[in-house]
């Protein structure tokens, strides 16, 4: 089980985001920066949340922003944005969000191995606060087991 590609270009530390849309957009821009998605993927991820609510905040402090495989996805990839100031997504239990993961997958049938690797990292309950406190992309990659 290996994590989707997470190069340093897909990691943004202590970013400023005015609201959840800005935070998700940063995660999308980081995926575009690393070549995993086209810039329009940000809007797709935002639309999923507008349509279905803040369910992407899957654990306290952590949002897993993602949309469906589609023309905006260029390769399997992960991005990580840590926020200087946490933002609310409107989730009933898990706000405020300190870490946004952006996930792009090319095929829904093959994404499970990648997602399992993500689950492995975060089943360690300290991973989210460790990421939120990370001060470099190196540190983030280390926490993610890279």
């Amino acid at each position: 089980m290996s994590l989707p590609s997470l190069p340093k270009s897909a990691i943004v530390i202590a970013a400023e985001a005015a609201d959840w849309r800005a935070a998700v957009t940063l995660a999308g821009e980081a995926l575009a920066e690393s070549g995993a998605a086209r810039p329009a993927y940000s809007a797709e991820m935002i639309r999923m949340i507008e349509e279905h609510g803040p369910y992407v905040v899957i654990a306290p402090g952590l949002a897993l922003a993602h949309a469906r495989p589609g023309p905006e996805v260029l390769a399997d990839g992960l991005s990580i944005v840590t926020l200087a100031t946490p933002v609310n997504f409107g989730h009933p239990y898990n706000d405020p969000v300190r870490v946004v993961l952006g996930l792009a997958v090319t095929s829904s049938s093959e994404h499970l191995a990648a997602v399992a690797a993500v689950a492995n990292v975060f089943n360690d309950s300290t991973a989210i606060s460790d990421l939120a406190a990370a001060t470099s992309a190196d540190e983030v990659q280390k926490i993610m087991g890279l």
Binding site: E51, G53, Y55, I58, A59, R68, S108, H111, A116, S125
Partner: protein, 90 residues
Amino acid sequence: MKIVTICGAGIGSSGILKVNAERVLRKLDITADVVAADIASVREVAADAQVILTSAEFVEAIGKTFADVIVIQNYFDTAELTAKLEAALG
């Protein structure tokens, strides 16, 4: 037994829920087929499911079902998953 995990896209969050549910079921020594699906296909996929795992946001859209709908707050908290699955299946 069939368990369905539901999210908006059928990838990502429902995938994480599937992976962690399978881990918990193995520890509980329960054999089940766990399927990740998107909310649009819930009727079809969950027609023969005993349990649906999801977030609070999807409960209304899942609507009437014979399955036990279980809301998970922290997808990475295997203790929460274990307690809720044990309560539903035990």
